[in-house]
């Protein structure tokens, strides 16, 4: 039972992060390798807002989440907008450079020590007992619930929402979308904002559960295989991919070797790249040159 809960929690973490990769890739064909750092930034923003809105934990959390949308949109407006039309490697490397920059700034502002936003907000983290003698911490449970909520909202938004439809159109064919009067820059900025929002949610909830250090982006790097296994341009794929990766990781750690934890996602990823490079649910695309 405990093993099952662990799988669900880890899968939720990966899925929540993976949908950030998927959103940006689907809309603008850019792989955002700074996603982990943006996620970590969200967690640190809670620390900042916690001191600003002392005594109002919900306000502080809300403010941090809103700020993260702004940060994501700003990343597009001030940086990624200039990289549209450049070669794949340049765009990827810009996000990598952005990640390095964010990491450095975070250490400069908040120091490299482990921090606990839950304490700063005066929030407890009790352990809940479920049926079958399984334990789950409160914030992990919230994370699972948030994940379901986020995926539900994103599905609805992309299928029925006006801006969601615009995002899908921009992802399918930017030229045609622009000629039909869709403002591509707004759509892209929105995608970056939403992606950072989901990432920040994951980062904040993980930080509330177990604190935040500079090594958090590694988790996002491990969630990337989840996005790719499911298909980089498929939201449902992110969910399935996260489940596959999390199951493989938890079981292998439990039965084989804890040191494997860092490589399992990448082993699954390699297997997937050999069999079906475009992922389980992804659309087969003309893979482009450098």
């Amino acid at each position: 039972m405990q093993l099952f809960i662990n799988i669900i929690v880890l899968a939720s973490i990966y899925a929540l992060i993976a949908c950030g990769y998927v959103l940006i890739y689907r809309v603008s064909r850019v792989l955002n390798l700074a996603h982990g750092e943006l996620m970590m930034l969200g967690a640190y923003l809670v620390l900042a807002t916690a001191s600003l809105f002392a005594g109002h934990p919900l306000v502080a959390l809300g403010a941090a989440v809103l700020l993260s949308i702004v940060v994501g949109a700003m990343v597009y407006v001030f940086l990624m907008r200039k990289m549209t039309g450049e070669m794949v490697l340049a765009a990827i490397l810009t996000t990598v450079a952005l990640g390095i920059l964010i990491r450095g700034v975070i250490v400069l502002v908040w120091s490299a020590q482990q921090q606990y936003p839950a304490q700063a907000l005066n929030l407890a983290n009790p352990s809940l007992t479920l049926v079958g003698d399984g334990h789950i911490s409160l914030w992990s449970a919230v994370l699972v619930a948030t994940n379901i909520l986020v995926y539900g909202a994103l599905f609805g938004f992309l299928r029925f929402g006006r801006w969601g439809m615009r995002m899908r159109a921009a992802g399918q064919n930017p030229l045609l979308a622009a000629q039909r009067g869709i403002n591509l820059h707004t759509v892209y900025a929105l995608a970056w904002g939403l992606s950072t929002l989901t990432g920040a949610l994951a980062g904040i909830l993980m930080a509330l559960d177990s604190g935040v250090t500079g090594s958090m982006p590694i988790i996002a790097l491990k969630a990337f295989p989840a996005a790719l296994v499911g298909g980089l341009d498929s939201l449902a794929g992110g969910l399935v991919g996260a489940l596959i990766i999390a199951t493989a990781e938890v079981l292998l750690i439990y039965y084989v070797d804890p040191l494997l934890s860092d490589v399992v996602p990448f082993l699954v990823l390699l297997a997937m790249l050999i069999v079906r490079p475009w992922g389980l649910f992804g659309t087969r695309e003309e893979l482009d040159r450098v």
């Binding site: 200039k82 990598v96 450079a97 390095i100 920059l101 860092d262 482009d288």
Partner: protein, 360 residues
């Protein structure tokens, strides 16, 4: 690839030998002579700190040259360069530790490991392109690092493997000056290998594969073979660099080969300028010396104590900023700046090139 500077004022070649010559004009001969004299004289004027810097630059340039071959010329993206360096360093470390293998065994062994890994890293490139290839090399990087870490913990070297300095014919290589010459030689040799590979049929094939695979195949180029070839050559060179790195440091630890190192190597070829060997060298020097530059700049600031603990973070931040600036404002890199400078003086007092005829 056109040459922006005319090498000679006209076409004076009368035989095939002259066509093959690397040095063609008197100016080139003189400047090369000056460069070599300076390189030989440097260790006798510079202190140990500068020597160490030079050695690091040489080591980095071997890696950067091989990555330039792979990414800049053959167009295959790799984010797993640190894994290959780690493979070379660990082959050396394991052989030196387990069977006390001498230098002349570990070096070829590292090259062999590189060849093997090059085949493995190269296999996905037959099926994947662009972004997906980058991701597959990234995954392989993590697997190599995992294997290294596994070895360290299982054998009880969790802090790292110590390696004795190599001895060549009874002469122990410990002196900084001796190291300088060894590494200078190694870097020069890799440069020569790259130059000669690129001006032969393999270089032309790689460029064709880079430009458009379908056309390359239609021209009768064995695309799969040349892709594997560039991966094999590049990774064996990188592994040799890893071997030299291990001996130079006298110590191998898996922590030294994280993803950041891979990114640094990619940054070298981006900052230096894609598709230019000179760019690889300039980029290697820039990225290697950059942290030291930042450190010395920080030392000039008045309240240095405030930043002393965070020097690492300052480096990180500055590196990110510089990388972004190059990517956004100078995609051609340092070589682009250099060429523009050359053109400025070549064309002076005019500003623009004539529309046709000048570019060859």
């Amino acid at each position: 690839m056109f040459r922006s500077t005319p090498r000679a004022s006209g076409y004076y070649r009368t035989g095939y030998g002259q066509d093959l010559a690397l040095i063609q004009t008197r100016t080139e001969r003189i400047s090369l002579a000056i460069l070599v004299t300076l390189a030989i004289a440097l260790p006798f004027i510079a202190g140990p700190f500068l020597l160490d810097l030079a050695c690091q630059v040489f080591l980095a340039s071997i890696g950067a040259l091989s990555l330039m071959l792979l990414t800049g010329y053959a167009g295959q993206i790799s984010l797993g360069h640190a894994g290959l360096i780690a493979a070379g360093a660990f082959t050396t470390g394991i052989l030196a530790r387990e069977i006390a293998a001498p230098f002349w065994i570990t070096l070829p062994a590292s090259a062999l490991t590189g060849i093997l890994l090059g085949l493995i890293f190269g296999l996905p490139s037959l099926r994947l392109r662009g972004l997906y290839l980058a991701v597959s090399t990234l995954a392989l990087h993590f697997i190599v690092i995992y294997l290294g870490g596994e070895y360290e913990t299982k054998r009880g070297f969790s802090t790292g493997i110590l390696i004795d300095p190599p001895s060549l014919a009874g002469f122990k290589l410990t002196d900084g000056r001796a190291w300088y010459f060894v590494l200078l030689l190694a870097a020069a040799a890799s440069l020569m290998i790259c130059i000669n590979l690129l001006r032969s049929s393999s270089g032309r094939a790689w460029r064709a594969v880079h430009a458009r695979e379908t056309v390359a195949e239609a021209l009768g180029i064995n695309v799969a073979g040349y892709k594997l070839l560039v991966f094999v050559i590049s990774s064996s060179m990188t592994s040799v660099a890893g071997c030299l790195f291990a001996y130079y440091r006298g110590f191998v630890s898996i922590e030294a080969f994280d993803l950041f190192l891979s990114i640094q190597y990619v940054a070298m070829i981006i900052i230096g300028g894609m598709g230019s060997l000179l760019g690889a060298l300039l980029g290697a020097a820039f990225v290697t010396l950059f942290p030291y530059l930042i450190e010395s700049l920080l030392a000039l600031l008045p309240n240095i104590q405030k930043f002393a603990g965070d020097i690492f973070a300052v480096n990180y931040t500055a590196f990110g900023v510089v990388m972004i600036l190059f990517l956004v404002f100078e995609p051609l890199g340092l070589v682009g700046i250099w060429r523009r400078l050359q053109n400025y003086f070549l064309l002076w007092p005019f500003k623009y090139r004539p529309l046709t005829g000048a570019r060859k």
